[in-house]
Subunit: 228 residues, 2 copies
Amino acid sequence: MSLDIDSALQLRRNQSLTSIIRRELEQMIERGELSAGERLNENALAAKLGVSRGPIREACRGLEQSGLVNVVVNRGVFIRALDGREAAELYEIRAALYGLAGRLLAPIVTDEQVAILTGYVEEMDAAMAAGDLNSFYPGNLRFHEAIVEFGGNARLAAECAAIHREMHLLRRRTLDMPGRMMTSNDEHRAILERIAARDPAGAEAALEEHVLISRNALFGPLGHYPDT
Amino acid sequence: MSLDIDSALQLRRNQSLTSIIRRELEQMIERGELSAGERLNENALAAKLGVSRGPIREACRGLEQSGLVNVVVNRGVFIRALDGREAAELYEIRAALYGLAGRLLAPIVTDEQVAILTGYVEEMDAAMAAGDLNSFYPGNLRFHEAIVEFGGNARLAAECAAIHREMHLLRRRTLDMPGRMMTSNDEHRAILERIAARDPAGAEAALEEHVLISRNALFGPLGHYPDT
DNA sequence: CTTTTGCCGATTGTCAACAGTTTGAGATTC
DNA sequence: GAATCTCAAACTGTTGACAATCGGCAAAAG
């Protein structure tokens, strides 16, 4: 009982309407309920959420800074549309950051953490065997999240999460295409193996390669910066 | 005359009060007029800038997202203070990003760009010879900016600029300490030499090392994540 | 003397209204 | 019939006001 009150107060304590709305909008983008290029109507949103326009505008300024929306003066805020070039640039950065995460993690990883990562890979194996893409995806997500978390650089983890959110702005929604599921998990095994071997350079290379292969699967292996 | 009007309109066209205020606050932080931990008073700022609190609050939400301020509900916004651990984490990320920039640039750099970079290094040499730290600093800044710009990944350049802004939150303000000026420019020469040789791996390594040496100069070479 | 309690000024969170801009439809002209 | 002009509706930018909350100080209780 008192625990409920405490947690409720704790929630209230660092959640203004603005932050609640920002999170809500982020999730709407992640779920695809707001698609790229779409315009946000402040009045409509305010009415829908039962608040005034002030907090909505504040939330949108936060989203603007994190790159999820574009704001055009006197015209409104638009869900950002990643073109091919921007997505490719993002993948490049992501590859470098995941590589760094692997390099940080390999020397300090614990046996327990290796076990956790192994669990995720096996989950994905099971999903793969069942041909179930919907349960493959969360395993994939947690595998990558865990690597950056365990690496010990909290800021790096936050940055990777932000980039991952931004990836949802890509029009072609298949972040990991069905056909890539099995080869993808082979790569996961390779990454895990290098981490478990406490091999920083190997883990770095495996993670970088994994991200860049994903990128090439989306854009084709040739174009450096595709134009759409 | 009409040019003045046009440029004024052009300014007005994609600059809301919010964006002007955000830039102003960023510059105040960069110039050190707002020091870490300090609290921003919305009313005072609004009066000082001659606007209402709305745009101020919106600007602060943007600054929050880019990590320049902390917002505590019902207490206000505080200029963020980087502790040692956060700064070290930032340096690690920065090293990886600059390394990526060097790797991208080396294969595609033009002779003209090499000449520009060489010019910056010589500027720094001159400043060094004159013992003039104040003219060393901007050369240093432009050298690093140019490398990420020329690399061709616009998003990477933006990310590096954001991290650089964030570095100004460090309490120990000497981003490059006086004593490091000469050794620092030796490293710049090494970086430039690897880029001019069109050597991606070498440029990457030289840039990473350069950033990590800076980090160690600030924190000492030993501690992985210092606590203050 | 220390601790608790209640109040008050200051500050933030939120809202509703006003002012200026954009947009699109219909009228008007050539 | 096509292009241009006019104008009103819709929307965003900004403001000032109201409500809720926090921190500190003084008085009362122990």
